[in-house]
Symmetry: D2
């Protein structure tokens, strides 16, 4: 074994692949189904925030019970995203670094200071 | 500087925080707004797959142009998720490991072999 | 009162407005919160279909229990959408007729026969 | 022809069915694909509101250009929802009335006055 720690995205990819293979769930994990699963988890995350006043949302998550539920839903979104990237053979970390670099160029600091982009 | 590489989630968290602070976008990044942004990116991801036959989706992403667009949308989802976790002071990697471990217990191999869970 | 039946969208708009006003929920029903609620319901709908084979989904909804749950989630999406349109003072029926008419023009039959649009 | 006007949901159902049949799009309109299309439209709707301050969202939609875009996205969500209900042979109007009636019972006025439900 190497002494270099396994990169985090590789670790999660491996964990989700093992979970899937041991249960013979690969047949369920086509891209469209995984996106629907991702949508389900994003929906659960939205429900935890929907009726909170916008400026009270961060404080509300200091409550231990709500914090636990929010953590679980955020984790679910990440785990399905990692699984989707694995199924599509996309390097998630490289994709994220590339997209971030593109945002640096697309949103020059002088032009977008305090100005919301239509989309990042 | 340490010789230990920066963990990947910490790196993305730092990149998104710098992007935000340099542009003074923190005011836009309350949790509800970030979840809506996440929903927007998941929607763009869904649109890239919606009309593909389920069993043709993986092959379709071998096309370089589609692959590039899918990679960008998957990256956007990850970047907003990382930013949301940072704003909420949630350790995304720990949350994912904890949730994965819970799934191992919740879905025993013998009971769920080839059987789709209602939800993972 | 007129003998003309109340149009369906007007009826649902009125029902949701009464439900809201009687409970003094108007403060919760700003547009962003309603969209998050809509996302929550779409997520629940997605979860009911996520692991079904694409070509088995219609038959699966013939099961009475699943049919009931799907009906409820579809209804929830409609009710929040109607409420959102009301809050924004948008005529939902007129908007739908206008958008449909635009699709007729945008997707000429001869050009799109059997060809999936990127988006409708 | 009857002198009774066609109910609105029936009208939209018919319009979407004709649009689909004339273009031979039925093969694309399985439930999972339609839900992904719905997700895409909800995502576009979310993007129009994501960076607006919560209390400025209604006023922002008074701008004619934004109003037009919001109307289109709300219409798209409704049209795909109607199409999904048609494919599943679900009576959307009956489902909505039933769900509304259930909410009246589930959220008694005296108990929920000014109190956000976790979910409606």
């Amino acid at each position: 074994m190497s002494t270099t720690p396994e990169p985090q995205i590789a670790e999660l990819t491996r964990l989700m692949r093992e979970l899937t293979e041991e249960r013979q769930w690969a047949t369920f994990h086509d891209p469209k189904s995984l996106i629907l699963a991702l949508v389900g988890e994003v929906g659960e995350l939205a429900e935890l925030f929907q009726w909170l006043p916008a400026d009270a949302a961060i404080a509300a998550v200091e409550d231990a019970g709500r914090r636990e539920r929010v953590s679980q839903e955020i984790a679910d979104v990440l785990l399905y995203l990692v699984r989707l990237a694995d199924v599509l053979d996309i390097d998630l970390m490289e994709a994220a670094r590339t997209k971030h670099a593109a945002s640096l160029t697309r949103f020059p600091v002088d032009e977008f200071r305090g100005v919301a982009p239509d989309k990042v």
